[in-house]
Symmetry: C4
Subunit: 250 residues, 4 copies
Amino acid sequence: MTHPSLSGYPSSVLDEVARTREVVARLHAELPRWGLVVWTAGNVSQRVLVDPAAGPGPDDLLVIKPSGVTYDELTAEAMVVCDLEGRLVDGDRAPSSDTAAHAYVYTNMPEVGGVVHTHSTYATAWAARAEPVPCVLTMMADEFGGDIPIGPFALIGDDSIGRGIVETLRDSRSPAVLMRNHGPFTIGKDAKAAVKAAVMVEEVARTVHISRQLGEPLPIEQHHVDSLYARYQNVYGQGAAAPVTKEEHA
Amino acid sequence: MTHPSLSGYPSSVLDEVARTREVVARLHAELPRWGLVVWTAGNVSQRVLVDPAAGPGPDDLLVIKPSGVTYDELTAEAMVVCDLEGRLVDGDRAPSSDTAAHAYVYTNMPEVGGVVHTHSTYATAWAARAEPVPCVLTMMADEFGGDIPIGPFALIGDDSIGRGIVETLRDSRSPAVLMRNHGPFTIGKDAKAAVKAAVMVEEVARTVHISRQLGEPLPIEQHHVDSLYARYQNVYGQGAAAPVTKEEHA
Amino acid sequence: MTHPSLSGYPSSVLDEVARTREVVARLHAELPRWGLVVWTAGNVSQRVLVDPAAGPGPDDLLVIKPSGVTYDELTAEAMVVCDLEGRLVDGDRAPSSDTAAHAYVYTNMPEVGGVVHTHSTYATAWAARAEPVPCVLTMMADEFGGDIPIGPFALIGDDSIGRGIVETLRDSRSPAVLMRNHGPFTIGKDAKAAVKAAVMVEEVARTVHISRQLGEPLPIEQHHVDSLYARYQNVYGQGAAAPVTKEEHA
Amino acid sequence: MTHPSLSGYPSSVLDEVARTREVVARLHAELPRWGLVVWTAGNVSQRVLVDPAAGPGPDDLLVIKPSGVTYDELTAEAMVVCDLEGRLVDGDRAPSSDTAAHAYVYTNMPEVGGVVHTHSTYATAWAARAEPVPCVLTMMADEFGGDIPIGPFALIGDDSIGRGIVETLRDSRSPAVLMRNHGPFTIGKDAKAAVKAAVMVEEVARTVHISRQLGEPLPIEQHHVDSLYARYQNVYGQGAAAPVTKEEHA
């Protein structure tokens, strides 16, 4: 079933699309703000449920940044809408070239409501060595529940990036995966949670990198990691399926 | 004795609470300004004396950032008031999850009027290795009077973080402690002095880290450290108990 | 043939000069924005075709930043116009001391419409070791098609810098060359593309540097590099001669 | 001879003091802009000639930042005026604690019209190892004419810092000295030139540091250093005594 336009959708979905365009446009501004992207790189998307009563499904839509638009031009109107096969449903420009990877995640991880991709420096540096970031900070235990895992090398152009993300994150508490030689993808219950994970993955990738430059950081015992993670998900989370329910950290 | 609200307090305390909310809100802006925090991490608090004539005591209050509020939303009204057992006395949101640690410090170090916690990158990198920052810069001798010490590994949820801070700083001239695998806590005669210490601890942690990347920095002889520290406290300080009386450095 | 002024040119060229002054002035603001320059360092130029029907030729003009002007003063009026022998044709100030190198590139690479020079930190750090940046990131394969090459040591004052740039880039897919002990020069179909290459060369120089600090990044197999590069040039490029037709990356 | 106030000076000197306050206040904003200082650290001063016809002399004045004032408060009115013995002549606040060092330089280097002191990170990192920054970049040859030298360890409180600066810079083309375990001091024909040197010393200290992290940067042959320096001083300089006549670099 193709969606050539938004014309066949009920007004409740159109309203949600409009609201999501605003949210996604605004969240893109967080990427340069926290130094995660240069030029036009990086993208944020959020799922739009077409049947909220039934929950996530293959007919859902996603709102994402168009290709090649600078961060100064990122208005709600500039955002584009695609279906979960990555086809353009609404918008004046071509969707980000990473749309297929986002769509694959929404299709295969129904609990995910937001996806972010950047080439943030320190996370990408670990990715280039295919080395997971070890869990040596209490904030990593809180937010990631352990190491940040590495996904496979995958070329753009088919499902391989999406499959690599999903296969890696299914076995992990972490909402972030470092795709080998490429960069981080993060997930969340919505786009804001995925952006937060993108900010945090760079922060911990940087801090652990710097710590290791002058010696070996001390590991945190596994039972302490478990206890920090459990507490953080209970106190701050919404009680839904981990790892996509993380909330604010203060 | 519980304080369910501010209603029982004299107007002089209420005025001081109002003034302190302004100060604490404004000082939070210094944390992202100097690159010490990302997202909603980090917190600043200041003590409110309930009986200024008698001086600091267990019935004092503290003003702190609420949990999970972004740095764009940090108004005076958003700040919350707690007692020294960490219970919410006034405010619309839950206090920072680090409130118990702040409260423990105020209870056990009467000379402390402000506390700051961040996960600033370089300070946290030393903390992850449990390695004190050696005193190899004249500005470290001035401000910290020696090495910046490491506190124990401690889990959130009881008194352990607070105890770790107090036990470490009691034996040190330093207004900063690097809690192992966690990050820096700093103290001061007021919140501004603690924020300054948070800025300075990251600055010296970064500079000494970078210096050591290419060789060993030269130590400063202990008598020079003592002489720099004594001069700085006399010339710039207020004459009260070290280490919480440090003033501006120009 | 000397051009002492713009007075002999047709109004279409004068219009194009005016438009190019605007573009070049605006693009200079990208250099401090992305942290590529300090003080008054760095320069951007763009070719002005004097005979658009005939295409690029030795009589073309270039618009460039004047020498020693701060980034706060960079208005369209402050830009200067030179011929391809580097002589001032229009403007109140002396042209950048790097004008001869820009002019040499325009003369010898007709497909180039924009040139940028910076001393951006990480790119210059590789240049000081005369070490090419190895292609270990998918975004490098996309944008540079392989390693970023090193140009020869060359003194300012004659054609040596220009010759070094041209001889290095002729044998490379890369739109960037790291001149030994000096810094990066980048080219593009216009000034915007050259600025993008300047931003990207620093980004990948930084990321690969950081990755190598803790081990050896994994290489990307040559056939994958080729495939990424081919796809990126086809999907995003304009179909004209590589390496100066790269477009936006999202 | 003491100067308790400005009241005995001719109006031409008072005008020059007023103009210099503006210049010095404005130049202080360059220090945080280029990331050279945190909190209230760092200071800029400029000489005021009391007898311009006779040239620099021991009765000259200097304008400098007061102690402990934040960068948000740096207005022309906030600046203070001292004599060359470091005594306050005009202003509401105590002068910077580094005033004696500035004054010593003006007294002993008549060609110097501006002095800057920071604790900028990379320059201070070299200073902590007492290691000169080797001249491996063409921009270092241009601006510094060779290595950036190390000054002695010196305590604040008497002439030792000033003497260390003067003795080191007298034997060097460099307008910057890295005082051991302390940080950089820079000089110039005026405060602007000294601020530029402060920006450039951090830039080259950072770039050479980063280059050396992954290997040894290639040296530039001495005759090339000499030729770059001579050209830069001739083309951009004012022809007066090196090293304080360097001009803009574009």
